[in-house]
């Protein structure tokens, strides 16, 4: 029983979150205020979709380092459509999501058609997306976003931002997709043992393309949330997503080689990371610690994983 519980990631994460929550509640009076919780949840929304975006590529055993660049491109394209062309919000957002999925699709096709390592492909496409982004904006953001969008970005019900709705829906949908649909199962089967999946009639290449497309779609979602939240289309949206996108799934126990991801544990890892970030602000610790701690947590997760493997194998 003991070892079984150790097998799952979420209990340890839940304990860590509870401890962090308790500590902050006890030491910082500002922590439990409605506004602080609202601020905390706001940054949680975007991070969650970023983490899910990487999680879907990890599920099939791929890496996607273009998430941030893709997000930045989607944000400024959607922003540009609304500001310069006066496209209605719904259409612009749909176009943004479609663009994200398309960019991911391109990543997936390049990976499966050329057989080149996913890391190199997405490193290259990241540079291409960044280039297009800079070409459109010349580094100048689109400031005039439709009022309705900005209002949605700041609207809240007590401590709950409306922005929380899309990522929570995405989490539920993703959990059901991965656990209960045949495509979702194929995704994990390809990640777990590509040969076995292929011998069982799973179309491996198409599944990898699907995972990349989904990853692009989710990254686009994160970018559009950031757009709504900031009230302007900044070309720098996404520039700091890379480490976060890997940190959350890995802390959530995702196997880097593919075949295993956990929506719940990834979400909890994002909660933990958001809590740490918020805690550092409240305790007036140098914000530079965030970067340091992210790296440290990933290494700790890797070490923990190793320990667990040693215990399972050598014990």
């Amino acid at each position: 029983m003991n070892t079984r519980l150790l097998e799952k990631e979420w209990p340890a994460l839940a304990v860590a979150i509870a401890l962090g929550f308790g500590f902050l509640a006890a030491t910082s009076p500002a922590f439990l205020t409605e506004f602080n919780i609202y601020v905390l949840l706001r940054s949680f929304c975007i991070s969650l979709l970023v983490a899910f975006s990487q999680m879907t590529t990890l599920a099939v055993g791929q890496l996607n380092v273009s998430i941030g660049a893709l997000g930045g491109l989607v944000a400024i394209v959607a922003g540009g459509l609304m500001e310069k062309l006066g496209v209605p919000i719904g259409v612009a957002l749909a176009a943004g999501l479609a663009l994200g999925a398309l960019c991911g699709f391109v990543n997936g096709v390049l990976v499966t058609r050329t057989g080149i390592d996913g890391f190199i492909v997405t490193l290259a496409t990241a540079s291409v997306f960044d280039g297009i982004n800079l070409g459109i904006t010349k580094s100048i953001p689109f400031y005039k976003m439709p009022a309705a969008l900005v209002a949605f970005g700041t609207a809240r019900f007590h401590a709950l931002p409306y922005l929380l709705i899309p990522p929570v829906l995405a989490a539920i949908a993703l959990a059901i997709f991965l656990a209960r649909t045949s495509l979702g199962r194929y995704l994990l089967a390809v990640g777990g043992n590509p040969q076995a999946a292929e011998l069982s009639g799973v179309p491996r290449a198409r599944i990898i393309v699907l995972a990349h497309s989904l990853s692009g779609f989710l990254a686009a979602g994160a970018a559009l949330l950031a757009l709504a939240q900031l009230g302007s289309a900044q070309p720098t949206i996404g520039s700091d997503w890379l480490i976060l996108s890997f940190a959350a799934p890995i802390i959530g126990g995702a196997a880097l080689g593919g075949g295993y991801v956990s929506v719940l544990a990834t979400a909890l890892a994002v909660v933990l990371l958001t809590l740490i970030q918020n805690g550092l602000v409240l305790e007036q610790v140098d914000p530079f610690w965030v970067e340091f701690l992210l790296g440290g947590l990933i290494l700790a997760a890797v070490g923990f994983d190793r320990l667990r493997a040693a215990r399972a194998g050598g014990g």
Partner: protein
Amino acid sequence: MRLAVENVGKSFPGVVALDGASLRLEPGEIHALVGENGAGKSTLIKILTGIYRPDRGRLTIDDKEARFASARDAIASGIGAVHQERNLVPRFTVGENIALEQLPMRFGFVDFDAVHKRARKFLDAIDSSIDTRTEVRRLSVAQMQIVEIAKALSLDSGVLLLDEPTASITGHEADALFLILRRLKAQGKAIAFVGHRLEEVLSICDRITVLRDGKVMLSGEPVAKVDRARVVREMVGREERIAEFERAIPQSDTPAMEARELATARGHVGIDFKLMKGEILGLYGLVGAGRTELARALVGDERIVGGQLLMDGTPVASRNVADAVHRQKIGYVSEDRKGEGLILAHSVRANLAITIWRRIADRLGLLRRSSELRVVAPIAARLDVRTGSLEREVIKLSGGNQQKVSIGKWLAAEVKVLLVDEPTVGVDVNAKAAIHEAIAGVAREGVAVLLISSDLPEMVALADRVLVMRDFALIGEVENDRNLERVSRLIMELIQSR
């Protein structure tokens, strides 16, 4: 369903795996496919399942020509298979692995109750003790094998191909499997059974095909008409001439290597043997007996967990491969020369010299081509490595010449003990003779050789004594009097005694 191949050939670079082989599987029959390691059985199975495409020959289903572009085509045509490699998704449950081909759906979602019910049905037929809700990675190797069999059954295919299905399961589980196979036979399925244990094969199969060196030696004879001795003869290749090597009597009293009650992390227990200087000690056993694993433990790649290993009479403490190679002077010629014997993309020179780079570097740590060649060139000449230049990449050499290189690097290293694992699998006759000569030559120079081989004539030609291994334990020793028939019989009797 009737599945047949006629006159198929398949070559890999440097190796002819199948040379005009034919096989005909009839409905309502279990067809045994036997042969030694490297005889081409697995290649034939892989052609039948669409994993390999044959270079030539015809494949027919119900007497109509068929072509498989991929493994999926074969599955769609109703051919189910259990391969030697594990084809399971480790983080999925047993049930889902079994049902992965056609996941039962309900309202657009996977119906896991139906998945497990379906899997249960096929699993119960063999072994009801496995829970379908367990993740596959938690199963033992034998249990995984059972799951694979259940998975093949679940396809409801007309043809079932089983590649060594009993290699890692117990007698009890095997009996259950045979019961099912008989039932499936009664249902009119065509079944091919690749096996090593002759008793087993002869008791369950209706017809038998024997392969040797990619050729069919015995083609679909009814089992009732052939006796065991004939099958062994065809497998082993009696007409093969046994070369006589000049063998010296081992010269020293202290064994170069000695194992006392050795136990390994892989499950060997009570391994006792003495390997004398200048001796060639054979180690025979069937696939899965634990011979390769023992060799790996001796060279420091697997953990030794009990007993003692002595080199020249002194006990050896725990170590890694580098220690074994450089300190204790033990070399291992792997059976998997492409995976771990050679660096295919590097030159012959680099592959031969890799073990001595440290030794021949000058005081500044610099390595000169000339000093490398001084050691390596004579070895290449002695082993008659056929290569245009020592700078050629090893991947461009034939299988036999590749094998000469992977033995040659240990000559360069001047090892005291050489562990040789299946040295002539997939090499042609001439290269085989050269490799045999090389091994005998190494022993003449005083190196102690442990020879692992499934090729009995090779064993009889080279070894001084033959140890026999079964289920990770040594079960006996046969003195080699160079009489192939007698030695084969004694070895087979040891192995088949249960």
